[in-house]
């Protein structure tokens, strides 16, 4: 018997590299990653965290830096390598206590998951899509960790009601959130 394996290829196969429209979305994703990395650093350098919390946040901060670097590698000369100042300023002032830091940073992880998922829904290029997908699963894990430590709260770990910040998001899902609900 002859084995034939084929993909049901669409009329035009998806491109491998990001298209120019993809590049804009990926640049936005990179700027959001840099903002969240910098927000983690505020928490890490605040002196308000326990040694364990600091260790965890350092790991998550490093991850966000790696995401920005990977996106930079994919974007090449299209990369802006600058943080989203609006996102950064909105949340920087809310990092006022260890408890607030956990709450705010969990919320930001959830926002990044929603934003990247939204962006993924528009990306044509497969390299960008696979990279963003591999980031989404880990940022969801970050958010869930905040829901399990220091005290386990199943709803907090599993639920994500955050809205997307992606520029292509439909009006109904574009966030206008400026504070993180307690």
């Amino acid at each position: 018997m002859t084995t034939t394996i084929s993909s049901a290829a669409p009329p035009t196969a998806p491109p491998k590299m990001p298209t120019s429209a993809d590049a804009q979305l990926l640049s936005f994703a990179q700027s959001a990653e840099l903002s969240v990395h910098d927000l983690y650093n505020i928490a890490i350098n605040s002196g308000l965290l326990s040694a364990d919390e600091k260790l965890m946040m350092q790991m998550f901060s490093d991850h966000h830096k790696e995401y920005a670097q990977s996106l930079n590698g994919l974007l090449g000369k299209d990369a802006t390598n600058t943080r989203n100042e609006s996102l950064y300023l909105t949340y920087a002032s809310q990092l006022t206590s260890a408890q607030a830091m956990s709450r705010v940073l969990q919320s930001l992880e959830n926002i990044l998951v929603a934003t990247h998922t939204d962006i993924l829904s528009s990306l044509e290029g497969l390299d960008g899509a696979t990279l963003v997908a591999s980031i989404i699963t880990v940022e969801a894990r970050h958010a869930a960790v905040f829901g399990t430590l220091p005290n386990a709260n199943l709803s907090s770990a599993l639920n994500n009601t955050a809205s997307s910040l992606a520029p292509n998001a439909s009006p109904a899902t574009t966030t206008s959130e400026t504070t993180v609900a307690p």
Binding site: T3, I5, L55, L123, I136, V145, T148, A152, N160
Partner: protein, 270 residues
Amino acid sequence: MNNFENLTRRELLKVSGLTIAGITFLASCGAQSGVTGTANIASAGTVPPTTALGEVVISDTVLLRTAASLEYNAIDTYTKVLDGGLLTGEYASLNDAIKRFRDDHVDHAAAINALVVDIGGKAHECANTRVNNLYVDPALKLITADGNADAARDVVTLAHALENLATQTYQGIVALLTKPQLRGDAMRVGQDEARHAVVLAQVLNPGYLAIGPTTDEATGKAKVASVPSAFGGLASIQISLGAPNSEGAKTSLSLETPSLNGLVYDEISC
């Protein structure tokens, strides 16, 4: 004038050495007289016959139907865990979480099957047979076998592995789905499975120091981590289950996301 006349003794030895090596190599590739040709390499015993796949097409519906089938693997496993009262002792408090996970998987299956129907496919509303045969059934058999003192913990280990398997499956099909919208829809579900995995990881290996990758100093094996790496991985998932053997080792299982012979092709029905 012949160029060979200009060769030094050292160069001549090199050339002759290469010639001998080449002749030996070619001779080893050729058929030998008196030896019957065979398609197989030399082997002891009987080679079992293999069944080749028929003509198959990997389409968006196949990929999503496969994802839906894994949701049913999780639903069925959690139902067996709950109905069989397998979470006992200190793990009994996890029953509510398992119920929540099962409900989530029911929702995921419905959402994925709705996508399948939207793009012209047929909903697949049962578990992946190959995943059951290779992983779930053997695992449950080991867990429920007499003499397994760690049955409840092993249930959590299996659940954690299944959640990671589902996460990897969704992440993996992103590279194969042809429509960007479907990729986003897949990861809306996939990220949910990753959250389930974290909750279970924190049961198996709790605390801040267990978030990232760590190694068991006694065995040299990787411990369960809530966030095993900076990027979502697609490597096989190793678990150890069941009663330990005489040397204290549990049976190991290696779980992998469905491949060509585990996909739910359009012609497969429940």
